[in-house]
Symmetry: C2
Subunit: 133 residues, 2 copies
């Protein structure tokens, strides 16, 4: 059901500084830089193999990513697993005893359809399903 790690998000305070560093790490500029209104974040992303590494800078401290950064600082924010059918996969996980936070997918970058899992069920790792559209 889960085919690959679709994306990993890191929270940063200064997106330009983070892009500069990750450009040196990967030896190339980001593949995309976008604002995501639904989360109120500026983002830049690099495709690393089959996975997107997404740098996320909250522009609103009261957004979900902004609150996470206030609580835990910069660093790892979440991991998202690719599935063909987010709602079907979520229902399967619920039957297996893993709770989900979203009844219907919410929109991510590029129209990704996202369903968050309950982090209490994944040992304090914010985890998510992504269906590409």
């Amino acid at each position: 059901m889960i085919r690959r790690i679709h994306h990993i998000n890191f929270l940063v305070r200064d997106l330009d500084a983070a892009i500069d560093t990750y450009e040196r790490l990967f030896g190339r500029p980001p593949d995309a830089r976008e604002y995501l209104e639904e989360r109120r974040v500026e983002t830049a992303r690099f495709k690393v193999g089959e996975t997107w590494l997404v740098l996320v800078m909250p522009t609103d401290p009261d957004s979900v990513p902004g609150q996470h950064m206030q609580r835990e600082g910069e660093g790892f924010f979440l991991i998202s697993y690719e599935v063909d059918d987010a709602m079907g996969a979520a229902q399967t996980l619920v039957r297996r005893g893993i709770r989900v936070l979203d009844e219907v997918p919410r929109a991510g970058l590029e129209g990704w359809r996202l369903i968050d899992l309950d982090p209490d069920d994944t040992f304090d790792v914010v985890s998510q399903l992504t269906e590409e559209t």
Copy 2:
């Protein structure tokens, strides 16, 4: 130089409980379960697409992983990027202004050759290079 995300490590307090959850998430048992003496950790890992997701339970609170868990609790521990030549890649990164913590690779699971980057240079994400042998 960096070709893919080689592995991602999550720290857990109870490896059996974590394996049980991730088996339900991935719908299958781990690919391997091993003790790594160099780090004093019990591990279980799942191949997810091209990346290893490694659950890590410290058996010694004074080990590096044990200290990390004491300081920050369970959750994301580190991300490791695959390269063909860990020492050569580390030298390239140093020339680009990213500091590394190891002069020579240390041994990981399955003889992986690991070089840690300075987390001060990667926005509080513990990051690493892996060369498979």
